[in-house]
Amino acid sequence: MKALIYITPKDDILDPQGQTVGTALRNMGISHIDEVRIGKFVEMTLPKLNLKQAEKATTEACERLLVNPNIETYRFEIDEEA
């Protein structure tokens, strides 16, 4: 099974990379794009665990290392079939 973790800058944190990419996309003529925010995607392979154990391990990984709560926020999905 796999944990799919999405880490993004917090809403009140300026994301100059996202802003620059957003401007580039608009300059390319791709319409209807308001805001771009760029974060990280982490894929972790887990042994066969029950869902609760997988969620616990993933939360611990996020809170102790993968995410800096001062600047980032996260959410994850557990793919039990992967």
Binding site: I13, L14, P16, Q17, T20, L65, L66, N68, N70, I71
Partner: protein, 228 residues
């Protein structure tokens, strides 16, 4: 005084720092590999700049978990003096020893140039030898030096005199134009609440001999060593 210069895989200012402490400042210096677990023989710990662990995940995040950082925490808790420069500042922040965070420069560019620093507090053993009415010139060289902290925490830093340095003009004016990286309130360096740990983005070890263009950085090492 005995200085420990911590070396991580990817440190690249360790030799400059060692050279300045030993040969210019004239104090004892030793390299300490990040796998070591004790700092009991030292008076000051310096975490130098570089790209520890290739800046993987976030700058300083992996280095903050190295065995030596447990020893740095213990050393600091016992009142030992700790200085983190550039990547060393990023490591101290990630280790939770200093408040706030350091994120990508507002320009998204690596910045390598001379800046001017205005000291904001001389009430610590690290900064006691500096002069509040003087400007210190030295280089910055970083990609992620944009200091960020929540408004409430920033107010606490201001109240407690934990802001060590701000970016200023050559004439000493703290202005947006003098801020190279977008740091909140022009902050270039901060202290912990107990004022025995200091992190700063500019490089005093690169401005400690006239041959490199400035000796202002040496004043910071002198202040730490109690020579000033």
């Amino acid at each position: 005084m005995r200085f420990a210069v911590i070396v991580f895989p990817g440190s690249n200012c360790d030799h400059d720092t060692y050279h300045v402490i030993k040969h210019i400042l004239g104090e004892e210096a030793q390299f300490v590999w990040h796998r070591e677990t004790s700092l009991s023989n030292y008076d000051v710990v310096v975490i130098p700049g570089g790209f520890a662990y290739g800046d993987y995940l976030r700058t300083g995040a992996i280095a903050a978990l190295s065995p030596i950082m447990q020893a740095v925490k213990k050393f600091a808790a016992g009142g030992g003096l700790v200085l983190g420069v550039c990547n060393g500042f990023q490591i101290l922040v990630e280790a939770g020893l200093l408040p706030g965070a350091l994120v990508a420069n507002q320009s998204l560019r690596f910045i390598s140039r001379k800046i001017h620093l205005k000291p904001e507090d001389t009430g610590s053993s690290l900064t006691a030898g500096l002069k509040l009415d003087r400007i210190y010139t030295m280089p910055v060289a970083h990609q992620a030096g944009n200091y960020l902290i929540q408004a409430a925490e920033l107010a606490q830093l201001e109240d407690n005199g934990q802001i060590a340095f701000r970016y200023a003009t050559a004439g000493g004016k703290v202005s947006t134009g003098a801020n190279p990286n977008g740091s909140v309130a022009n902050i270039a360096g901060v202290l912990n609440r107990e004022k025995n740990i200091m992190g700063m983005m500019p490089h005093p070890e690169r401005a400690s001999e006239s041959v490199v263009g400035s000796v202002d950085g040496l004043e910071i090492f002198k202040s730490i060593a109690g020579q000033a």
